[in-house]
Amino acid sequence: MIKIVKRDQPSKAIFFFTPVLAIFLTLVAGGIIFYILGFKPFEALKFFFIVPIADRYGFSELLLKATPLCLIAIGLSFCFKSNNWNIGAEGQLTFGAIVSGGIALLFYDQEGFYILPLVILAGAIGGMIYASIPAILKTYFNTNEILVSLMLVYVSKLILDYLVVGPWSNPEGFNFPETRQFSDSARLPLLIEGLRIHAGIFLALAAVVISWFVFYKTYLGFQMKVSGFSLKTAKYAGYKGKKMIILVFLISGACAGLAGVGEITGPIGQLHREVSPDYGFTAIIVAFLGRLHPVGIIFASLVVAITYLGAETAQIFMQIPKYTGQVFQGMILFFLLASDYLLFFKFKFIDTKK
């Protein structure tokens, strides 16, 4: 007879094994969905997960998509670790893009080494300002941060829409909903000629290193961990809860804002309506899949970035609807959460003859 028994302690090995299990189960379930839709499952999975990254260009695109995901997820891990549910990173990304784009547009006809640092700084500040709204409302007005941060996503997209259609639209742009092109000095340098991968990847890597340091080597990291486990304990230990809430929101806002900068000064080069294909939401999945661990998040961002590329490739070659990407993302999170059961419980074989 098999009995389910609670583990005395969550298993560390399984903690890092379940994300792999979740990805495997997603592939199996994805194959089944493809089969139901009338596609050959193995061929579809090949076009989805292997073909897009099989060449140099594909690999560069993978890094291009993984960069914002990684950056945002690192920021979110600060929030999630300390029990703050910031799910509005998409809005913070958009607002960061708006502020940094505004600065870049001020210098649209100028060149200079100082422009790019200003633009990057503006993006981080923009993201922080936007993230501070749910943080302040949560700490001082007791307002639910989930709903506020999410409502602000819609608002930020409407602000962007207003700007690119109205006051910021390109005067020579035949009324297209887009701004002028930024000057070359406001663009992140490309790493390899002919590929789209840009220097934004260093921002993401820097975030990984800094977050690792903060999580595991500082008092703040310890406080966050304790608050994540139990808010009561944190209060008892005398941690300044409000300060920490605002700080983690600011950090995650800055990361999302920087991801926005990376998009508009990297591949896009101007502001238009769609600065992000929901990176801010997808990064939530990346953060969980990476177990809120900086290194885990790197791997997770690469895996989830494939779902973006795969969706495009599969649409072109097999006419598989592109939303399959989102379906995969949702499934990864479902399976990950489900396999967490193994963390706390184990199956035990019991001899019933005794």
Binding site: L37, N144, I146, M151, L158, Q326, Q329, G330, D340
Partner: protein, 310 residues
């Protein structure tokens, strides 16, 4: 200027019509939350309901099958959430988010073949009485059955929670799962039921959007209504009657937006579109500021997993 009373009646009726999906989804979620479960998947369940209703209507041609099918689809998708949060004891917030992402993706996938197909006309009740009473006629008569159901639902929900034994059990499970369990109540079973009921109501809310309110399938057509419905539950301080008031305010904001544009008010359209979201934030701040009141009315175990060791 002479104000035509019937025109005023029509505006009120259109505000009520746009409040319908919010009322349905909020009342469903309210029951789920009253049992202690926070399901953030409302948006996902609504959009699944929207595409299921529209697809079934197009394929089978039967409105009844479509409406009940949409509710069933809501139930099925919420079963995933129920299984994960209740049986596998996963985090409510993360699971709800996954449900929304998954729902939006899968609805777009199914809906690919239904874009651009015109909807069917949904029968309305009491159409003959439409011109009998000035002002009141357009408000009272000539609506779909879902409309009438939605406006009855808050009262039914209130009665259910306050006056019936099952309602008492739901509240007990939400406020103190331990004591409920000690009284011999199967906490998980009750929560399963409440989650599935919430799924059914969200499915119905979605079907109303795609079959009655704007009879067609558009990707992402719920457009954040699921999240506003979630905010409404907080706004109502878990009291179904207040959901009615909140939904009317938000319905009003949506309708005002159309009329302001029609009159030619020189406010950017994006600002008017952002109004419901901004008002949601402001309302949440005002309601939540009184932390004592919120703490008293929030189901005590909301969002917390319950597991009984055997």
């Amino acid at each position: 200027m002479i104000i035509d009373v019937n025109f005023v009646g029509l505006i009120i009726a259109s505000i009520m019509a746009s409040a319908v999906p919010l009322i349905l989804a909020s009342c469903g979620e309210l029951i789920t939350e009253r049992s202690g479960v926070l399901n953030l998947g409302v948006e996902g369940m609504m959009i699944i309901g929207a595409i299921s209703g529209f697809a079934l209507m197009t394929v089978t041609g039967s409105l009844i099958i479509a409406v009940f099918g949409a509710m069933l689809a809501g139930v099925l998708i919420s079963t995933i959430f129920a299984f994960l949060t209740q049986t596998l004891i996963t985090n409510h917030v993360a699971t709800g988010l996954a449900l929304t992402i998954f729902g939006i993706g899968i609805s777009a996938m199914i809906g690919k073949n239904f874009v651009g197909i015109p909807g069917k006309e949904f029968p309305v009740l009491f159409e003959g009485l439409k011109d009998t009473i000035p002002l009141l006629s357009p408000i009272l008569f000539g609506h779909s059955i879902v409309f009438y159901f939605a406006f009855a639902l808050p009262f039914i929900t209130s009665y259910f929670l306050k006056k019936t034994k099952v309602g008492l059990i739901v509240r007990a499970v939400g406020d103190s799962p331990e004591s409920a369990s000690n009284q011999g109540i199967n906490v998980k079973l009750v929560r399963y039921a409440c989650i599935l009921y919430g799924g059914a109501m969200c499915g119905l809310a979605g079907a109303y959007l795609s079959m009655i309110y704007t009879p067609q399938w558009i990707e992402n057509m719920t457009g954040g209504r699921g999240w506003i419905a979630l905010a409404l539950v907080v706004f109502s301080t878990w009291n179904p009657i207040k959901i009615l008031i909140g939904a009317m305010i938000f319905g009003g904001l949506t309708i005002i937006q159309f009329h302001m544009q029609a009159i030619g008010v020189r406010i950017p359209v994006q600002f008017l579109t952002a109004l419901p979201y901004l008002v949601t934030i402001i309302v949440l701040v005002v309601i939540s500021r009184d932390s004592r009141k919120i703490r008293l009315s929030t189901p005590s175990s909301l969002g917390k997993s319950f597991h009984k060791d055997n």
